[in-house]
């Protein structure tokens, strides 16, 4: 247990990260500026899994974990599509999820943007010719940005979000 008195006297030191990624931090700060300009300082993202192999989801969760902590740049992941600005769709859209993805898209209020995350969602990937799969997300929704990768790393996802901001500014 920490001695409360020592806490007042000694300087507070948190754990030192040896893996600090300066490139990630720079992209993050740029993203924060763009979000402040376009989305009024808060970008609400709703993630929809339409049939991925769960690795893009893990990378998105890693974005919110302490190492990357993307919420400090103004990005938050929301529970309801009705609160969302951007829909991130992962996975090649399976026949069983087709209706659910469309309903989620319809429930999102305008203005909305769709990002396809991962090779499956972009229409490449091993499942693209399967009977059980529609293909990429662009087969059923209008996609504004594709982020390829199997899965894309958290840095790639952040670069993708920055590219989305550029696209929104210059349609």
């Amino acid at each position: 247990m920490i001695n409360q008195l020592l806490n007042i006297v000694k300087p507070k030191v948190t754990e030192d990260f040896k893996f600090r990624d300066t490139e990630f931090e720079e992209i993050g700060i740029q993203l924060k500026k763009e979000i402040a300009g376009i989305f009024g300082r808060s970008l609400a993202i709703r993630e929809v899994d339409s049939g991925s192999d769960n690795s893009p989801e893990i990378e998105l969760v890693n974005l919110t974990a302490p190492y990357y902590d993307v919420e400090r740049f103004g990005v938050s992941f929301v529970a309801s599509p009705r609160h969302a600005d951007v829909l991130i769709v992962t996975g090649a859209v399976t026949r069983n999820m087709e209706i659910a993805v469309k309903k989620t898209y319809d429930a999102t209020p305008e203005p909305k943007f769709v990002v396809a995350l991962g090779d499956d969602a972009c229409g490449t990937g091993v499942f693209k010719d399967s009977y059980a799969v529609v293909g990429g997300v662009d087969q059923i929704l209008h996609v504004d940005l594709k982020i390829p990768g199997n899965p894309p790393s958290p840095k790639d996802i952040l670069k993708g979000l920055l590219a989305l901001m550029e696209k929104i500014k210059n349609p």
Partner: protein, 523 residues
């Protein structure tokens, strides 16, 4: 086990000529339709556990359907597989004796069109309402292609959930799109107030047709498909597939490759369990306690990247070994990381264990009773937390585990706290195993030249979630039938029992404590 024992187990209902040993050490017994019910009775009386049930068409010259029933005898190394040839596309179900068989049988009905008399629930399993009726994708007559699906679904075609009636009882449908960043699945709760009376799980929203697209490809091409079944079981699934092919073609995997494969398998176990511990702590609203686990998990991902070039270790596994070697620099970095790992991990555990509010949420929540383990074939940490000492690495050893035995922790309460402790002890054990492997790492090449022979084999290994069963049938050098059953397929049934009597807000916690793969179930 030997052939005589197998015949003894089946009470003499089969003869010496009908029992053969497979490439992976399993025993196949051809059973006749007239003796089938008796054989199932004798198997049940000897407490054998149903591990898998699948179908293959046009197997070894028989143009109809052959059903394979895979059984395990506790304490015995070898699996027993009953081969049942069926005449037409109707046969009898074994649900009366093995209730857990009905998911397997519904899967066979969807895939092949074989109907089972006496099954409890004959609704479609992995083909949801939009697929046309009489569509059976795994039949040889259907070549993989895009199909027309129904645009509208009538109310009478909708999936029927069990209804619970009473004053004040209502249903909460959750999913398939969930509130967090998680995979899709549907949970239908019947609730009174906050207390859960019944839960029905409906999966297969992510059915991508893994087994069908594997057919007709070379084993080398199929490795990528095996990796894509479930992202956080990449190594477990691809190692099981490669191991089955290697057993069929009698390929000798170089020693260095075996050591490295085991390092990857244990790394996967570490990052998977770290994610569970973090998720459980977040679900009880204690993010301070979860953060150290997230930090360690991110560092594990980065070490995966240094070892193999991919954070999920994709693209490294190959038939006959590995696609490329791992640098000694990456291995020594990993060794340095693991040296400091135990102290940091113990500190993180102390934070969680000394929080009374977390313990209050964890204890006595989501209890999985011991009797369910063998009935539903629960495996992995879920079983070990319910007083059942099973682990494929010890019961059916493979690779390095013949020499290096992992130590497993078995606890009795079966609640969330017990699963937390079991996973924590497995992480420390895996870290120790990897250190041992790095210290004893042999040199040499990591792949070998090979020629693919025809044949079929079972391959069973312990993924982070439990027992992972793959069966591969190679014909004319190409994969003719690939059956995958990840541990999540069996473990999902446990959730329906574990939540009864708990409140709805406990459900995310119980779900996370079992951490099942939706993608691994749905294929």
């Amino acid at each position: 086990m030997d052939k005589k024992e197998v015949i003894g187990l089946l009470d003499g209902n089969t003869s010496e000529g009908c029992v053969s040993e497979g490439c992976g050490g399993e025993f196949y017994a051809d059973v006749k339709e007239e003796n089938f019910k008796e054989i199932i009775n004798s198997i049940k009386s000897k407490s054998l556990i149903l591990v898998n049930l699948f179908c293959a068409e046009n197997f070894e010259g028989y143009f109809g359907f052959t059903l394979f029933y895979v059984f395990e005898k506790r304490g015995d190394r070898n699996f027993i597989i009953l081969k049942r040839r069926i005449e037409k596309d109707k046969t009898t179900s074994i649900c009366e004796d093995y209730p857990a068989a009905y998911w397997y049988e519904r899967e066979i009905t969807d895939g092949f069109g074989v109907s089972f008399r006496g099954i409890f629930d004959d609704q479609r399993l992995f083909l949801h309402e939009s697929y046309p009726a009489d569509f059976h994708p795994l039949q040889k007559s259907f070549t993989n292609r895009k199909i027309e699906v129904k645009k509208t679904i009538l109310p009478q075609e909708e999936y029927g959930f069990k209804n619970v009636f009473g004053e004040g009882v209502y249903q909460i449908p959750v999913g398939p799109v969930h509130a967090g960043i998680i995979e899709p699945g549907h949970f239908r709760f019947s609730v009174i107030g906050e207390l859960i009376l019944n839960l029905e799980v409906r999966m297969f929203y992510k059915h991508r047709g893994v087994e069908k697209i594997a057919e007709g490809k070379t084993p080398h091409e199929c490795v990528k498909i095996a990796e894509s079944i479930s992202g956080d079981e990449t190594i477990a699934n691809s190692a099981a597939f490669c191991s089955a092919v290697e057993k069929i073609s009698k390929i000798e995997v170089p020693e260095r490759a075996i050591y490295l494969r085991t390092v990857f398998l244990e790394m996967e176990r570490i990052y998977s369990h770290l994610g569970d511990l973090a998720g459980m702590t977040v679900d009880v609203a204690f993010p301070v306690g979860a953060s150290p686990f997230f930090i360690l998990r991110e560092e594990t991902f980065r070490h995966n990247d240094m070892l193999t070039g991919s954070r999920f270790m994709k693209g490294i596994m190959d038939v006959g070994g590995l696609k490329k070697d791992v640098s000694s620099e990456a291995l020594s970095n990993l060794s340095v990381f693991l040296n400091k790992f135990t102290k940091r991990f113990d500190e993180a555990l102390d934070i969680v264990r000394s929080s009374p509010s977390v313990l209050d949420r964890f204890e006595r929540t989501g209890v999985v009773k011991k009797e369910l383990v063998s009935t539903l074939n629960l495996t992995g940490p879920v079983a070990r937390a319910s007083e059942t000492a099973i682990d494929t690495r010890i019961d059916h050893p493979y690779g390095i585990y013949e020499k290096i035995k992992p130590s497993i922790k078995v606890m009795g309460e079966g609640d969330v706290k017990t699963r937390f402790e079991v996973k924590a002890s497995e992480i420390i054990d895996s870290a120790n195993i990897i250190q041992k492997l790095i210290n004893e790492m042999p040199g040499g090449s990591v792949n070998s030249k090979y020629k693919i022979s025809d044949g079929f084999s079972l391959s069973v290994l312990e993924s982070p979630r439990g027992q992972n069963v793959h069966w591969v049938y190679v014909k004319n050098g190409l994969v003719d039938r690939y059956k995958v059953r990840t541990p999540s397929f069996c473990n999902w049934r446990a959730i329906e029992h574990a939540v009864i009597g708990d409140i709805v807000p406990d459900f995310p916690l119980i779900n996370k404590s079992m951490n099942l793969s939706y993608a691994g179930t749905d294929l």
